[in-house]
C-alpha cells in the first residue's frame, strides 16, 4: 500500500502532487453533437485556447486521458459506448458534462431515444450548462475542476469513498 493511498503524505507534498495533476490534464473530447463544435472552438481555435490552462486536448486514446468532456446529446444507443469509454480511462479520472443535453437531456427531454443526462451512466464532476455553452463557459468549467483537483483528498479517492461527487468536499459544481 503506497503512501498516497494510505494518506500518509504530508500536506505540502499533497499540494504539490495535486498541483502537478491539475495543470497537466489530458482531455479526451467525446464530442457528440453541436456542443462538440464549441468544444472544438475552445480546444482547437487560437482564440479560446485551452492549452494555456495546461490542458492538452490531444490524447491518442481514452486510455491516455485524465479528463473526458461529454458534449452533446447522449442517446440510448450510444450509452454503452460511453460507459465502456469511461471504464477504459485510468484513475484518477474526471468527467465534465457539457451542454444541457448531456446534463439532463436538454431540449430532447421527452424523446424516446435520448438518455436524460449522462450522469445516469457515469459520475460527473462538473456540469457546464448552455445550449451550446460558450467556449469561455467550458474553460471556466475546466478552471473550476482544476480548483477542485487542487483541494482533492487523494487518499479518500483511492479508498473508493462513494460516488465521484461525494469524493469532493461538497457537491458537484454548476457553472453559472
Amino acid at each position: 500500500m503506497g503512501l498516497v493511498e494510505s494518506g500518509k503524505i504530508p500536506k505540502p507534498l499533497t499540494h504539490l502532487l495535486n498541483l502537478s495533476r491539475k495543470y497537466s490534464l489530458w482531455v479526451y473530447q467525446w464530442g457528440l453533437a453541436c456542443c462538440a463544435i464549441e468544444m472544438g472552438a475552445a480546444f482547437g481555435s487560437p482564440r479560446y485556447d485551452v492549452m494555456r490552462l495546461g490542458v492538452i486536448p490531444l490524447p491518442a486514446s481514452p486510455r491516455q486521458a485524465d479528463l473526458v468532456v461529454i458534449s452533446g446529446t447522449v442517446t440510448d444507443k450510444m450509452a454503452p459506448a460511453i460507459r465502456r469509454l469511461y471504464e477504459q480511462m485510468p484513475d484518477p479520472k474526471y468527467v465534465i458534462s457539457m451542454g444541457s443535453c448531456a446534463n439532463c437531456g436538454g431540449p430532447y427531454w421527452d424523446s424516446y431515444s435520448v438518455t436524460k443526462g449522462v450522469d445516469q451512466i457515469i459520475p460527473v464532476d462538473v456540469y457546464v450548462p448552455g445550449c451550446p455553452p460558450r467556449p469561455e463557459a467550458l474553460l471556466e468549467g475546466i478552471v473550476l475542476l482544476q480548483q477542485r483537483i487542487g483541494s482533492e483528498d487523494m487518499a479518500a479517492r483511492w479508498r473508493g469513498d462513494g460516488d465521484s461527487a461525494e469524493r469532493w468536499r461538497g457537491g458537484p459544481v454548476v457553472v453559472d
Partner: protein
C-alpha cells in the same frame, strides 16, 4: 382557377399509365401536385414517374399516421382510452381530451396509415407528392428499392417507425433504433413517456426584463388556448 399546364400534364401522364389506380389528384396551380394511388400499383407508379414523367430524383419516402393522438397535443392532459388503437370502447375519463374524428389530408384517404413519397425532376423543376393508403390489417407494400436506389434506407426508417413491411426489401433491419427497441415510435398511440410522467407546464409566469414594467401576461394553457381574463 389558374391553369398549371405542366403539373396537369404530370397527372395526365400518371392516369394514362396507371388508369384506375390513380384514386385522387390535387393540383395547386404554381405550387404543388399531390396524387394518391392504389398501393398495389405503388411500384408501377414509381416506374411511371421515373421513366415517363422524368422525375429521376428521389427526394424522400415516409408515412403519415392519421389517428389523432389519444394523448392530446401536450401528451399530459389526460388520455382518451377509446382512441388507443385496438382498445374496446371505454367511456372517456374525466378531463380527457374531446374526441376528434380521424381525417386525412390533401388528396383524401381511407385508412389510418398512408405512405408519402416525393419525387422531382432536376431539369423541369417539377415535383410530385405520391400517397398510398395502407390498410390496418395488411401493412405491406412493395419496395421501391429496385426503382430508386435511395428508397432502401427510407423504407427501413418507415418500417421501424410505423411497422409497415416493405415486401422484397433487400435488407430490412433497424436503421435508427437500437436492436432491442420495442414498439413503433411514430405511431400516434406510442406515448412520449417523459411527458406522461411530468407534463409540460405550459407557459409559466414570465419575468420582466430589468427596467421594464411587469406586464400582465395572459394565462395561456398548454394547448395554446387563452383563458378568459
Amino acid at each position: 382557377m389558374a391553369l398549371d399546364v405542366d403539373r396537369d400534364a404530370l397527372v395526365l401522364g400518371l392516369r394514362d399509365e396507371l388508369g384506375d389506380a390513380v384514386l385522387d389528384a390535387v393540383v395547386v396551380a404554381g405550387v404543388d401536385v399531390w396524387v394518391r394511388v392504389d398501393r398495389r400499383a405503388w411500384v408501377q407508379a414509381a416506374e411511371a414517374c421515373r421513366d415517363r414523367l422524368g422525375l429521376r430524383y428521389f427526394c424522400f419516402l415516409s408515412a403519415i399516421d392519421w389517428l389523432p393522438s389519444p394523448f392530446g397535443r401536450a401528451e399530459g392532459q389526460g388520455v382518451d382510452l377509446s382512441r388507443l388503437a385496438g382498445a374496446e370502447t371505454v367511456p372517456m375519463e374525466q378531463g380527457a381530451v374531446e374526441t376528434v374524428p380521424m381525417e386525412q389530408g390533401v388528396a383524401g384517404g381511407e385508412t389510418r396509415f398512408q405512405l408519402l413519397a416525393r419525387l422531382s425532376s432536376p431539369t423541369t423543376q417539377l415535383g410530385l407528392t405520391l400517397k398510398a393508403d395502407v390498410p390496418d390489417d395488411d401493412l405491406r407494400v412493395d419496395t421501391w428499392s429496385g426503382v430508386y436506389a435511395g428508397a432502401d434506407w427510407h423504407e427501413r426508417e418507415t418500417a421501424e417507425m410505423y411497422g409497415i413491411e416493405f415486401v422484397g426489401h433487400p435488407h430490412p433491419a433497424h436503421i435508427y433504433l437500437p436492436g432491442d427497441f420495442e414498439g413503433y415510435p411514430l405511431r400516434k398511440d406510442f406515448p412520449l413517456v417523459a411527458r406522461l410522467v411530468k407534463p409540460w407546464p405550459g407557459i409559466v409566469d414570465v419575468e420582466a426584463m430589468p427596467g421594464e414594467p411587469v406586464e400582465e401576461v395572459a394565462d395561456v394553457a398548454a394547448d395554446g388556448t387563452e383563458a378568459s381574463a
